[in-house]
């Protein structure tokens, strides 16, 4: 039923958290290019549905691994080695999984606070290290990690999420430094507001909201070029520069 593409894959890509709206849009870009793709997320039926879609859209090969990425993070190196074998190599790794949660709940429920921190930071760094070790050894490869503009300044509305996303950007930036000169790269991409199921329920629309497809195009490009910290879309760099520079006495009067 599916078209087996006999050509060599354009890239060999691992996507962690493959079932989010941004991840699906990213995977479709790679599929159209004819890449070999490893999809990793929890739900096996959903992974299979997405895999069929990507094959029909031109992917040279699609593999799936159903797992809880947080629980499996301690064995990241083992899994990455396995996926490398299955794909015949790895050129790009996208770390996309994460958890928004709510600050209100995080402030009263330790489990929520732990989950936000674990999903967005403390488990993600193990996948980053496992990736970096492979890339360092092969002297090539791009690691692209999804951070958030929420990580640029602590704000009352989401500082648990913001702190974790800020930390993962800092970690990735450090990895990029450590990989400098090896031929491998690491990039943290900071999206602003994205119109996804994760943000349904917020008031949307207007110039500051981007589609998952737009963000995916930036993630894909970040795998090829650009500095270790990128914004998606790019205008958020200016916006966050301004927000970071607002003095606390003024900032504290806002409800941001």
């Amino acid at each position: 039923m599916t078209n087996d593409n006999k050509k060599a894959p354009s890239n060999r890509v691992v996507i962690l958290g493959a079932l989010s709206a941004i991840a699906i849009a990213t995977a479709r870009i790679y599929a159209k290019e004819g890449a070999a793709i490893m999809l990793v997320a929890r739900n096996p039926e959903r992974l299979n549905a997405l895999a069929a879609d990507l094959r029909a859209r031109g992917a040279a090969q699609v593999e799936t691994a159903a797992m809880d990425l947080e629980a499996a993070a301690n064995e990241a190196a083992k899994h990455m080695a396995d996926w490398k074998t299955r794909l015949g190599g790895i050129s790009h790794v996208h770390v996309i999984y994460g958890y928004l949660g709510t600050q209100e709940k995080a402030s009263s429920d330790p489990a929520e606070l732990t989950r936000i921190t674990s999903s967005n930071y403390t488990t993600a760094i193990h996948w980053c290290e496992a990736t970096a070790n492979i890339f360092r050894a092969q002297k090539s490869g791009s690691l692209v990690v999804v951070s958030s503009v929420a990580g640029d300044r602590g704000r009352q509305s989401n500082y648990a999420y913001g702190a974790a996303k800020g930390a993962i950007a800092l970690y990735t930036q450090g990895l990029a430094h450590s990989l400098a000169g090896t031929g491998a790269r690491a990039v943290a991409v900071k999206p602003g507001f994205v119109d996804t199921p994760m943000t349904d329920g917020m008031k949307k629309g207007g110039a500051m909201w981007a589609s998952p497809e737009k963000v995916a195009a930036i993630l894909r490009r970040a795998a090829d070029k650009g500095g270790p910290i990128q914004y998606a879309p790019g205008r958020w760099r200016l916006v966050m520069t301004i927000i970071r520079s607002v003095p606390s006495p003024i900032f504290h009067k806002t409800k941001l």
Binding site: M1, T2, N3, L19, A21, I24, K32, N43, E45, R46, A49, L50, A52, D53, A56, R57, G58, P197, M198, D200, G201, K204, G205
Partner: protein, 442 residues
């Protein structure tokens, strides 16, 4: 994660006349459908909608629940040997073309926009410029999966009564989960077209009859600003796929975007007349065949995202009817006269002859005859009065209106235009409804 219903005041149909709040859920995976459908009841019915290119109120359920299907857009299987495609109902024709055209396949037929979902194409049993050859989209559907609000689900094939209620059934018989249809071979992604101008609408009919056997794509633009000897003057376009050439998909993103509503004066009678006049002069100078990619030929308006904002903040109506062959000439003349006298016509009037295909669905719009489509900017009472006049002409000519375009037809007229409505009622899922359905089924 699982989708939930969230309040939204931004759910509009393409005509943007009705602005009412809805509760909207956007599932990304088919396993979310059951949970969402279970919230639909006879007392609080819901509706599944696609990219909301229907103009009136058939895709609205004010103060009620709506499932936005556009996230369920996965290809399930694609056989590039046979052209059989199975995809989730939220997949857009635009996405499908991206995959089909490089392999030498095309949609069996397509409406004038590629931004419709497969589910919407079935629910409205859409037609295109090749109707006289290909019939409607429903003619190419071999199987579909329908989910009902009682929790049941079934695969339907042509011949099943529920299949023929679902095709053209405006989303009222159940939620369409996926669709399987047959694509058609194309030798290239270019078309070779020609234009012929005509000075009066009566000449249109001879042209349409003359070209229908030799050309797959036919349609005419009609000028709604001139009366008398130039009533319904226009351009007849006819085209076939170029027999040789490259296989290249369209550019996915629209080139331009209407960022805001046009001001009220932007599309007044004067601009409309100027627009039509220029189009007419330009086109009558060019008589030779031209070669172009399918995109500008089949989807001229898709180049501008949100072109519907051109009609201003109060929105617009599209009026589309079909008249049977016996009454088509006189009826079309009378319709155009009435439109010209009103001075409310837009530049976007289109004429097209349908073929003799038997309708697939109980409520399918196309029937043998001639279809006319005109846009009217919403000027409130005046516009409604004009369309009521047109209704009388259509009804006495034995014609019917297109539910996908309608936002105001009275129940008794709809019932007289669609004789199979009584059969159809028996297949409606009691947990589904729309503003359109509540109006016309009363």
């Amino acid at each position: 994660m699982t989708a939930h219903f969230h309040p939204s005041d931004q759910l509009l149909s393409w005509g943007r006349v009705i602005r009412e709040p809805h509760l909207v859920a956007r599932p990304r995976f088919t396993d979310e459908i059951d949970g969402l459908l279970s919230a639909f009841t006879a007392d609080a019915p819901g509706l599944a909608v696609g990219l909301r290119r229907s103009y009136g109120d058939s895709n609205l359920n004010p103060d009620g629940r709506v499932i936005d299907m556009s996230g369920l857009d996965r290809l399930i299987s694609l056989d590039l040997e046979t052209g059989i495609v199975r995809a989730e109902a939220g997949a857009s024709l635009s996405q499908l073309l991206q995959v089909l055209t490089p392999a030498g396949w095309f949609l069996p037929t397509t409406p004038g926009t590629r931004f419709v979902t497969l589910g919407g194409a079935i629910a409205n049993d859409v037609h295109g410029k090749n109707h006289h050859v290909a019939g409607t989209f429903g003619n190419s559907v071999s199987r579909l999966k329908l989910r009902r609000t009682d929790g049941s689900g079934q695969e339907l094939t042509p011949g099943d009564p529920l299949f023929h209620a679902t095709v053209g059934g405006l989303g009222l018989t159940g939620l369409i989960e996926w669709v399987e249809f047959s694509a058609v071979r194309i030798p290239s992604t270019d078309i070779i077209g020609e234009d012929a101008s005509f000075e009066h609408v009566s000449e249109y009919f001879a042209l349409a009859a003359e070209k229908k056997d030799a050309f797959e794509h036919t349609m005419a633009w009609v000028d709604c600003s001139k009366g008398g000897s130039r009533l319904g003057r226009g351009i007849f376009s006819f085209a076939n796929w170029a027999p040789h050439g490259e296989l290249k998909p369209h550019r996915e993103e629209p080139r331009k975007r209407m960022p805001i509503d046009a001001p009220e004066f932007a599309l007044n009678g004067l601009t409309v007349r100027a627009f039509n006049s220029i189009r007419h002069d330009l086109k009558s100078m060019n008589h030779g065949p031209y070669r172009q990619h399918y995109e500008p030929f089949l989807y001229p308006l898709d180049a501008i995202a949100n072109w519907n904002k051109l009609y201003g903040a109060s929105g617009f109506y599209q009026y589309q009817c079909v008249l049977p062959p016996e009454t088509a000439l006189d009826g079309t003349i009378e319709l155009l006269r009435t439109i010209v006298m009103s001075g409310q016509g837009s530049p976007l009037a289109v004429l097209k002859d349908f073929g003799d295909h038997a309708p697939v669905g109980l409520l399918s719009f196309p029937r043998p005859g001639t279809t006319l489509a005109v846009d009217f900017r919403n000027r409130g009472e005046d516009t409604l009065k004009l369309m009521a006049k047109l209704d009388q002409i259509v009804a006495s000519a034995g014609g019917r209106l297109y539910p996908a375009k309608d936002g105001r037809i009275p129940a008794h007229l709809f019932q007289s235009m669609f004789p199979k409505l009584q059969d159809f009622r028996g297949y409606v899922d009691p947990g589904l409804s729309s503003a359109f359905w509540r109006r016309v089924s009363a």
